[in-house]
């Protein structure tokens, strides 16, 4: 009886998100065949979109605003690049190492940061991220300002040469897809419901019988791991791992992506990631003024679309997107 009672709800809320996300994946799968867009732009956008979705799992669902998420994105990139260049492992192992490293880092940072709430949580994550930035700046393995570059991407499972653009493209698209399937599973699980409850009223969630610190810690670790995966993907695409990906400004950029797209929505961070990549690509002619342009766009989004572009659309359509 319990299952029967819940079934209609589960089917109806997922529909639109599922259809639109599937449509997006199909369109992206056709991009290389149609030659509409520069594949490197799409690959970078996919990395940012997964990073934004990973961050949104934390801020949009559990209500935890990390100001230091770049540490996971950057660490994923560094570990992947180091594993490929120095350890000369195949790319699939490089990605797995990056994932494991960021999960462990997420656990360590999460256990410290979730002891505090609100602005104190945010400032703790920022402080830890800045400490890690300094470690990376000084560590020989990161090559400081130069970063790790000039490595070969290698062959996936010894079969697929990732130095071929379209092979790499489909690998990045597959990882993006799998990352989002995992996020969708988390959001639509009882665990996801508890995260949302914590985000809205932690005391109330606690009084229902949940040890909220454990849930927050797990959400933090999952978000960190997915951000690390996005960082590893970006290192594979750009063949570079640099300090810019661990810099605090990258933690700000991911907030920008999520706010532009729409917090608490599933598709919003994806759109935010694509818009951010587009800004980097097409506003680069502005040089240093790109920061001003980004700030203006951010302000316009906050003033005109307080729930983000997808959030506003979802409200108009009265649908979950």
């Amino acid at each position: 009886m319990r299952d029967k009672a819940m079934k209609p709800h589960i089917a109806s809320t997922r529909d639109w998100r599922f259809i639109l996300f599937t449509g997006l994946i199909l369109v992206l799968a056709l991009v290389p065949l149609l030659g509409w867009v520069y594949p490197y732009f799409i690959m970078q956008a996919l990395c940012f979109a997964l990073f934004a979705s990973a961050f949104n799992l934390l801020i949009g669902h559990a209500g935890l605003a990390s100001f230091g998420h770049a540490m996971f994105f950057g660490t994923g990139g560094y570990i992947c690049a180091h594993a490929l260049k120095v350890w000369a492992v195949p790319p699939h192992w490089a990605v797995v190492f990056a994932l494991i490293a960021t999960l462990i880092l997420g656990l360590c940072v999460g256990l410290i940061a979730i002891r505090r709430q609100g602005i104190y949580f945010s400032m703790t994550t920022l402080a830890l991220a800045q400490m890690l930035y300094f470690v990376y700046l000084q560590s020989p393995f990161t090559h400081g300002e130069d970063g790790i570059q000039g490595f070969s991407r290698g062959h996936l499972f010894g079969l697929f040469d990732l130095n071929q653009t379209y092979v790499l493209y489909y690998l990045i698209l597959l990882l993006f897809f799998l990352g989002h399937v995992l996020i969708a599973r988390i959001i639509h699980s009882p665990f996801g419901d508890v995260l949302q409850a914590i985000g809205q009223n932690e005391t109330r969630a606690q009084s229902l019988g949940y040890e909220t610190a454990r849930f927050k810690a797990l959400a933090f670790v999952l978000s960190a791991g997915l951000a690390g995966l996005a960082g590893a993907m970006k290192a594979l695409v750009t063949q570079t791992a640099s300090l810019s990906d661990v810099h605090w400004s990258m933690s700000g950029d991911v907030i920008l992506m999520v706010v532009m797209g729409g917090m608490t929505t599933f598709l919003g961070p994806i759109l935010g990631g694509f818009l951010f990549a587009a800004m980097l690509q097409y506003l680069s002619v502005l040089g240093q003024w790109v920061i001003v342009a980004q700030g203006t766009i951010f302000l316009a989004c906050v003033v005109m679309f307080r729930q983000g572009l997808i959030g506003t659309l979802a409200r108009r359509l009265r649908r979950s997107l």
């Binding site: 009672a5 009882p190 009223n201 949940y210």
Partner: protein, 239 residues
Amino acid sequence: MTDRARASSGLEIQGLHAFYGQSHVLRGVDLSVKPGQLVAILGRNGAGKSTLIKSIMGLIKKCSGQIRLGDVDLLGRPADQIARMGLAWVPEDRGIFASLTVAENLRLPPILASDAPDEAALFALFPALHERLNTPGTRLSGGEQQMLALARMLRTGARTLLLDEPTEGLAPLIVAQIGEIIAQLKRSGYTLLLVEQNLQWIAPLADHLYVLEQGRIVDECASEDFEGRLPSLIAHLGL
């Protein structure tokens, strides 16, 4: 849920003091709720009624005295541990989560007992909820939200229930419905502690009434003495 909790434990509170920062809100509260009893706390706004409930649930950090559920002392335990002992709370604002649907709100709390009421039993008690499973919780009317909060609490299998002003802001018809549900819960052996301002509504349901004023119990009476004590209760409540 443990066997202890399943047995619908009673609550014993002795010398309870609670503080919000420097503000001394509860000043030595003593009260007793025996297993299977319905006890009501009456009092004006600001008397400390909600603070008393929150103290029992472990949500007020600065407390002293004794709060016992059966033979377990609750003071100093975290709220999640207290909830898992079979104590459930419906707050004054009902605590419905805005982004979750009725179904999601309902299935949110952990089920603590194998014999907790299933959905069939809950929908028999609250038929309006079955029609609105996919509706976001906060789009329900006040009465429906109260029903959802009660259903969610019962689904855990908790046997000792704390209700903070369950009739506040509700239409008389809904208040009557909630009264029937609470009477039914009492008949089923649940232990209930209610905070209420509506004396006329709660008096016929309660086994024992306490009046809280400025953080102290200033009057009490058992249901059988209620009629004789009515003028005194009315005077305390300023009705």
